[in-house]
Amino acid sequence: MATDPLARIVRKAPQAIAGPIDDTLVILNLEAEGAYHHLNRTGRRVWELMDGGPTLTGICGALTREFAVDPAACAADVSAFVDRLVERKVAILEPSAPA
């Protein structure tokens, strides 16, 4: 049976450290010299929602409640955004928890 990609769990990588600048967020990868990521307000909110290791579904659900966004578009954007964080090694994706 195919696994729903939105059921995956996302966590902040242990080597990532983040701090606010006004309403944006700077993330450093402590193990990659010079690498930093500057997230806008929405990206910062996604990062905040990653506390506790939620599923992508959980993050999308929170965003659609907070912002007037189309659920399908939100799911696509969040998946792509999290994939970029994983590529840059500041986030980790895990398989969904067993039922």
């Binding site: 600048i21 944006t24 700077v26 450093l28 402590l30 010299e33 010079g34 690498a35 930093y36």
Partner: protein
């Protein structure tokens, strides 16, 4: 201190001011401001150090660490145990020279101690413009010291040549004085002319020479006016560009002195908070040039023109 190694220092130790701390040292620290009154914030002395730290320490190149303790191990100079930002125990190697021990203590040892105290040590030169302090940060060989010496020739004061310790005091950034000397490579000496007071460095095989800067040394803290990050790049001219807060934070992180110590001491979070505060409140510039370092006098003049445009920090 018990179980002292068999080492005979050249002179008695003393109590000194160093980066805003009162330091009582059995290791002679000539040239530092002395006579600090009151209880010592830091004690440096001779002693036996353990072969390793208890528990599961973080292992790095020539050091291991747990929160609150960092053990430096070198084959030829000394082992040093730095604890809780308050003490440094030095166990010298049999053939170590005092000057080499001093460099290790005032470099790696001091970096560990400052990080343990929650302070931000940047790898850079700190100079007093007369209306605030400017820092020149960069990797070894970037030209920080050469530029600092050129700035002294223009009448600036020296706070430190190698380690700029930034403190936040009532939310404002300031730099305290450190060591009143500049270490220069022989080719830098040639490019600067022949500064007075040159002396041979006191470590065998050490090519660098010392410029005694006590005549232009600051005695008290100076508010921070701006930070210049020196980098080799491309392009025909020396370029000075402002960094936004995110880029400034990343640049400052790259130039934390002895950055590998940070993970072992679990000091990343408070350090990053200080860096973000600086990135938001202090102008940070990137200075790039292609090829060999430009003439230091010309670069100093160009940067002086730039920092004069920054405005003065609070307190000036």
């Amino acid at each position: 201190m018990r179980n002292k190694p068999d080492f005979h220092p050249s002179a008695p130790g003393g109590t000194h001011y160093l980066h805003g701390l009162r330091v009582a040292s059995e290791l002679p620290l000539p040239g530092l401001a002395s006579g600090a009154s009151g209880a010592a914030d830091v004690r440096i002395g001779w002693g036996r150090v353990p072969a390793g730290l208890q528990g599961r320490p973080f292992q790095g190149f020539k050091f291991e660490a747990v929160p609150g303790q960092l053990l430096i191990r070198t084959l030829r100079i000394a082992d040093i145990l730095v604890q809780s930002g308050r003490t440094m125990a030095i166990q010298p190697r049999p053939d170590a020279r005092e000057g080499e021990i001093r460099m290790l203590v005032l470099g790696w040892g001091l970096a560990a101690l400052l990080l343990q105290r929650g302070l931000l040590p940047l790898h850079g030169s700190a100079l007093d413009t007369g209306s605030g302090c400017v820092l020149f940060c960069g990797r070894s060989g970037a030209g920080k010291s050469t530029l600092a010496a050129a700035c002294l020739d223009r009448g600036l004061g020296l706070l430190d040549d190698n380690l700029a310790v930034v403190r936040l005091e009532a939310g404002r950034a300031a730099v305290h004085p450190g060591v009143p000397e500049i270490r220069l490579c022989p080719d830098a000496v040639a490019r600067l002319g022949r500064p007075a007071g040159m002396a041979r460095a006191d470590s065998p095989g050490e090519e660098k020479v010392l410029l005694d800067a006590r005549g232009q040394f600051c005695r008290g803290p100076v508010p921070l006016r701006g930070i210049y990050v020196l980098e080799r790049g491309e392009g025909p001219r020396t370029e000075v560009a402002a960094l936004g807060p995110a880029g400034a934070a990343a640049a400052l992180w790259r130039h934390v002195f002895r950055r590998p110590f940070v993970a072992g001491l679990d000091a990343a979070a408070p350090l990053f908070a200080t860096i973000l505060h600086l990135a938001r409140s202090v102008p940070v510039r990137r200075v790039r040039w292609a090829g060999a370092l430009p003439p230091p006098q010309a670069m100093a003049a160009q940067l002086e023109q730039d920092w004069q445009s920054l405005g003065s920090p609070h307190g000036y």
